[in-house]
Structure formats: structure tokens, C-alpha cells
């Protein structure tokens, strides 16, 4: 019986995965808009970045607010190798990952013993140093404020990825690989070691876990994946510039992880929608209101007296539309606060959190029973 139930439960999950995958594959046909396909590509890149930071912040619990630096190392490695030495984009990808990982190991080694909040400012510091390095261009390789342009598109077997649609599938492919990898890492010996370090570092150490090594691996693997995202980003836009890799974007990545639910893979997707797609949607609010009004037209027309109501609604939506660009970020900031107040555990918390809820519901009547064991 139990086995059957768990089989069904697993099956249930698998069906969901398949449905989601089918949806992702068919998305461009539903949406039929290059703009929204491009938004989906942006979503994919940020989701990969969020998943990569999730290793460091979500699993290992390290306060990293400079992740854009690793993203930058990946993007610039690809850009430099590609534009100067003509190395193909897809060959650059693993190189970007390795360089970003080495960079992460070099900078994290001396700072890993710092307590949480000290680590936070140091990672911010490294992020800013990297950005200034790109900006000031001391070795004449980063192109300074203008960045690097003319980066190739990825191509393989004579296919070149250069349309929004082809990029959509390109990014989807890497996102799926990332997902599988993260899922495997989370449920592995190394993944558990990260959560032990997050929960109680001293206890983890006395359990025989080499905490310094484990934390360094979190930085290195997180950085490698961010490096891959950098490679994808560089070839998607063919131009990169220092301001993309600002502190603000490190903040966005951090918020993706926490908003969605620290350590939770589905949470990363929800967080990415919240941090990256929602602002886009807010930009499109006038269009949406118009569509909404279009839907209302028929029933309201049937009721008669539609003219006056429609005019009024259009006026309101127009004034909202005119002011949206201005109010967008204000609303966004307030929403971040509200989200944390009402769901501090994130929008889609890790499954362990649901365990706790179940336990709390049972706790009142069952506490006597369990205490007697």
C-alpha cells in the first residue's frame, strides 16, 4: 500500500514535469510574439543565475551579494576569447565556467572564515572591484566603459543561433541541464554537506565534514554556473558592458533566491518571475488593460450604456499607463517588503518547510503522544 502511494506520488510529480516541459516547448507558439519570447530568454538566463546563486546562498547559507562578479568573469572570458582569438562560443562556455570557478576559489579562500555579515560586505566589495576593473580596463582587454562588441553567435553543425526563437530553445536546453544538475546536487552527499554547514557549521565540522572545502566548492560551482550564464548572455546580446554587472544585479539575484524560497528549486522560478518578469509585465500594463477592456466590451455592450463606462475605464487605464514607468520601481520595492512580511519563507519554500507546517498542525493534539516515546 505504502509503496503504491509513494509510486503514485512520484508519478504525479513526473506528470507535472512532463506537462511543464511540454508547455515550455510549446510556449513560442502560444505567445506568437518575439517580444515575449525575448522576455522568456531573459527569464531563462536569470533563472540559471538564480539557480547558481542558490548553491551559495540557498544550500550553503553563505551571504553572497556579489554574484554578478562571477557572471561578469564568465561573460568577459567568452567575449575576450571570442573577439580576440576567434574561439567559438560553445568552446568558450566550459572555459568561462572553469575560469569563473578558479576566480571564485582564489577570492573565497581567504574570506571563508568570516562570519555571515562580514562575508556579505566582502562579497559586495569583490563585486565592486571587479566592476571597476572592467570599467577602468588597466590591461586594455575589457574595453572600458564601452565594453566589448561584436561577439559571435553560437553555432554548431552549421546551425547558427541568432533568432529570438532559436535562442529560446538554446537557453531552454541549458536551463534544463542546470535543473537536472541542481536537482542531483541537492540530493547528493555534497549537497547535504552544504545544508549541514548552513544549519550549524561547528556541528558539521565535528561530523567530519571539511567545512572550508565544502564552502569553497559551493563558491566554485556557483561561480562556474554563473560563468555559463555569462557565456550565454554575451552571445545573446553580442555586446557586453560593465554596468550590466553592477551591484544592483547582484541584489536582483539575491532577491530571486530569497523571494522564491531559500534553497528551493521551484522557488527560483517563482523568484525570477517576481524579480525579472513582473517588472516587464508592469511595463505592459496598459496593453493588458486594453485587452481586458476588449473582453468586457461584449457583456457591457449587452447591458447598454457602455460608452460612458468604457470612456471612464480607458481614461483611468491611460493615466495609469502614462505613469507606470515612474511608479513601476516604487511598486516593486513595496511589493518586495510586502512579500517578505506575508511570506518570509518565500513564495515556494523548500519541501522541508511544508514538513514543519504539517507538524505544527498536528502538534497540538499529538504532542502528548509523541512525547511518550
Amino acid at each position: 500500500m505504502e509503496a503504491w502511494l509513494s509510486y503514485l506520488r512520484n508519478l504525479d510529480k513526473r506528470i507535472w514535469y512532463v506537462l511543464l516541459l511540454l508547455f515550455a516547448l510549446a510556449f513560442p507558439w502560444f505567445i506568437q510574439s518575439n517580444y515575449w519570447i525575448s522576455v522568456a530568454v531573459v527569464f531563462g538566463i536569470w533563472a540559471i543565475l538564480g539557480l547558481s546563486l542558490n548553491i551559495i546562498v540557498g544550500y550553503a547559507g553563505l551571504f553572497q551579494l556579489g554574484h554578478a562578479a562571477f557572471w561578469a568573469v564568465g561573460a568577459y572570458t567568452t567575449a575576450i576569447l571570442n573577439t580576440r582569438y576567434g574561439i567559438p562560443i560553445l568552446v568558450c562556455m566550459p572555459i568561462s565556467a572553469v575560469i569563473a570557478a578558479i576566480f571564485a576559489i582564489l577570492i573565497s579562500r581567504p574570506i571563508l572564515h568570516l562570519r555571515g555579515d562580514y562575508l556579505c560586505i566582502v562579497t559586495i566589495g569583490f563585486g565592486e572591484i571587479v566592476r571597476l576593473f572592467l570599467f577602468n580596463d588597466p590591461f586594455g582587454i575589457t574595453g572600458g566603459i564601452n565594453g566589448i562588441r561584436g561577439i559571435d553567435r553560437p553555432s554548431f553543425f552549421g546551425i547558427t543561433i541568432n533568432t529570438p526563437l532559436s535562442y529560446y530553445y538554446y537557453v531552454l536546453f541549458f536551463l534544463l541541464i542546470t535543473l537536472v544538475a541542481m536537482q542531483r546536487l541537492e540530493n547528493s552527499r555534497l549537497g547535504r554537506a552544504w545544508t549541514y554547514v548552513r544549519e550549524d557549521e561547528t556541528a558539521a565540522e565535528t561530523m567530519g565534514i571539511d567545512t572550508v572545502r565544502v564552502k569553497m566548492l559551493a563558491f566554485a560551482i556557483g561561480a562556474a554556473w554563473a560563468g555559463v550564464a555569462g557565456n550565454i548572455y554575451a552571445s545573446r546580446y553580442t555586446v557586453i558592458a560593465p554596468e550590466t554587472f553592477s551591484f544592483w544585479n547582484s541584489v536582483v539575484m539575491f532577491c530571486i533566491v530569497v523571494l522564491g524560497g531559500t534553497g528551493s528549486i521551484p522557488g527560483i522560478f517563482v523568484g525570477t518571475i517576481g524579480m525579472v518578469v513582473l517588472p516587464e509585465l508592469l511595463r505592459e500594463l496598459p496593453l493588458l488593460t486594453q485587452a481586458f477592456l476588449g473582453l468586457l466590451r461584449a457583456p457591457l455592450g449587452a447591458l447598454g450604456g457602455f460608452g460612458a463606462v468604457e470612456q471612464k475605464l480607458m481614461m483611468i487605464s491611460k493615466s495609469i499607463a502614462d505613469n507606470i514607468p515612474m511608479w513601476r520601481m516604487l511598486i516593486f520595492g513595496a511589493a518586495m517588503v510586502a512579500m517578505m512580511i506575508f511570506r518570509p519563507e518565500g513564495l515556494w519554500p523548500h519541501w522541508r518547510y511544508r514538513l514543519e507546517l504539517r507538524r505544527e498542525e498536528e502538534a497540538a493534539p499529538a504532542s502528548v503522544g509523541t512525547a511518550g516515546h
Binding site: 546562498v57 577602468n136 532577491c255 530569497v258 511608479w327 516604487l330 518570509p344 519563507e345
Partner: protein, 304 residues
């Protein structure tokens, strides 16, 4: 030699700004173990409120007695920003006090985005100018270095405020309550301390000092914009960590040190201006590698 002295004086002035803001970070951290990322934006809010009040005063055609008017404006702005600070704590932080370490940080970042954009909507995205000539442009020549009246005032006011804060925290009953709360909320509560009131008090003191810093930055540089809080906030936070976060004299020392170091680096290192921020972070990282809890931070022996 004269250049060195000049740079040191300029650095000390900037350091005073950093120190004033850093105190807000350090006190909030001390009591709540929270990095209040919105603190820099309260400082920025102070700068804008100061601008509004000064413009109103000048707009009313009054130019005499500007020093007294400025004093009143300072006090009004400090009160207003303190109120903003208390509201911020109530709305964005208090509900999250038991929600772990990360959620309050995101909430703080949200407040920061909110405040910046609110100011941008009200005052516009461009630089705003502080009226010129409010503080007489008097200069003194000391051993070949120029010292302006503004610099002297900045240092006097900052040191006065910092001294007052130090006295308050270390020699009054309320100050003792703050220190007790910083050590252990539960024990403080058992001692009859109203912890919520103490937290509110900290969110009055920190933002008020930040606001004073904001007006002084406006007067000193003559122009402000709505992202002012990020740059100064980050520097001040760096200063607080440098000195040992949670430690009030540490924030003062850290701020001054960072200001001086930054100015000297900008003056003496080739292209130092472009690398100014990188250099101060580099200093921070170096110090933390050697002393993981900052210059004046106490070494924490973990209780097992």
C-alpha cells in the same frame, strides 16, 4: 607635505560623513543583527528634506540669521527622518524579527528601492542644487593647506553629535538599556527593558544622525541626487565593518579612517580617483583577513 595635510583634512571631512552614517548601521546591527540596507536612503532623504526646508526659508525672502535657520532646519530634518526610520522599522522589519537572517535583508532592499523611487518621483531624477553661499566661504591657511569654514563646521557638528551619542549610550540609563538589548533580547526583557521601545529608539538615533550627515553633504558638495544613498550607504557600511560592526567607537574610527585613506589613495596612487572605491574595498578585505571582526570588534569565542 602641504598636499598631504590638505588631503588629510579633506579626508577627515568625508570620513565624518561616513562615520555619521556608519553609526546608524552599527547601532541597528548591534541591536537587531540586521544590515539595514535602507539606511543610506534615509541619509539621502535627509539631504532632500534639508534642501526643501532651506529653499522654503530662502523662498520666503529671509536671508538674515541663516545660521540659526540652519540649526532649526537641522533639528526639524533629524526629527522627520527619525520618524521615517521608526515607521520603516514598524512596517518592514518588526514583522520579520523571527523570520531568519535573509528575509529582513530582502525587505530592507525593498525599502531602499521604494525610498529611492519615491524621492525620484517627488524631486525628479536629475541632480538638485543646494543654494550657494549659505555658509560664508571663509578659508584659513594652515601650514600650506586650505581649511574652509564648511569643513570646520562639518567636523565640529559631527564630533559633537558623535560625542553626544557616545555619552548617551555609555553613561545614561537608556543607553545602558540599548547595550543590554544588544547583548541579549531575552535577558534584557527579563531585566524589565522594553525591547521594542529600545529598537524604536535605535531607529530614531541612527536615522537622525544620518539625516544630519545628509544635509551636511548637501551643503558641502552643493548637489544631491536620488541615488546618493547607495554610494554613501555602501561606504558607511564598509566603515562600520572596518571598525567592527555593532561597536559605536568602531564606526567612528572606521569612518574617519576610510575617508582619509580614500582621499590619500585618490591623491597619491596614479589614477587613484578611478580606483578610489576599489581601493577602499581592498583595504577592508585586507583588514578582515587579518582581523576577522574588524579593528575594534571583539573576538567572539563561540560558546559551545
Amino acid at each position: 607635505m602641504d598636499i598631504l595635510l590638505q588631503q588629510a583634512i579633506n579626508g577627515l571631512t568625508i570620513g565624518a560623513f561616513y562615520a555619521l552614517i556608519a553609526l546608524g548601521y552599527t547601532m541597528v546591527y548591534g541591536v537587531l543583527k540586521l544590515i539595514n540596507f535602507a539606511h543610506g536612503d534615509l541619509f539621502m532623504l535627509g539631504a532632500y528634506m534639508g534642501l526643501t526646508l532651506i529653499s522654503m526659508y530662502l523662498g520666503a525672502g529671509m536671508t538674515s540669521g541663516i545660521i540659526w535657520a540652519l540649526l532649526v532646519i537641522f533639528i526639524l530634518v533629524m526629527i522627520a527622518v527619525a520618524i521615517a526610520g521608526v515607521i520603516m522599522e514598524r512596517v518592514a522589519y518588526r514583522p520579520l524579527r523571527r523570520a531568519g537572517r535573509l528575509a529582513p535583508v530582502v525587505s530592507a532592499l525593498g525599502v531602499s528601492i521604494f525610498l529611492e523611487n519615491a524621492v525620484m518621483i517627488i524631486y525628479g531624477p536629475r541632480y538638485r542644487m543646494y543654494p550657494k553661499g549659505l555658509i560664508p566661504e571663509i578659508q584659513w591657511n594652515i601650514a600650506g593647506a586650505q581649511v574652509t569654514l564648511m569643513q570646520v563646521l562639518t567636523l565640529v557638528i559631527s564630533f559633537f553629535l558623535m560625542g553626544a551619542l557616545y555619552y548617551f549610550v555609555h553613561y545614561t540609563r537608556l543607553g545602558t538599556a540599548i547595550r543590554a538589548t544588544a547583548i541579549d533580547h531575552d535577558v534584557a526583557r527579563l531585566m524589565g527593558i522594553n525591547v521594542d521601545a529600545i529598537v524604536s529608539l535605535v531607529f530614531i538615533l541612527g536615522p537622525a544622525l544620518g539625516a544630519a550627515g545628509g544635509i551636511m553633504v548637501g551643503l558641502y558638495y552643493g548637489r544631491i541626487n536620488f541615488v546618493l544613498g547607495w554610494g554613501y550607504g555602501l561606504k558607511a557600511f564598509t566603515a562600520a565593518i572596518l571598525g567592527g560592526i555593532g561597536n559605536i567607537p568602531g564606526a567612528m574610527v572606521g569612518g574617519m579612517l576610510l575617508g582619509i585613506f580614500e582621499t590619500l589613495a585618490a591623491g597619491y596612487i596614479p589614477q587613484g580617483g578611478a580606483w578610489k572605491d576599489a581601493i577602499s574595498f581592498f583595504l577592508l578585505i585586507l583588514i578582515l583577513i587579518v582581523r576577522p571582526t574588524g579593528l575594534l570588534g571583539e573576538r567572539v569565542v563561540e560558546k559551545l
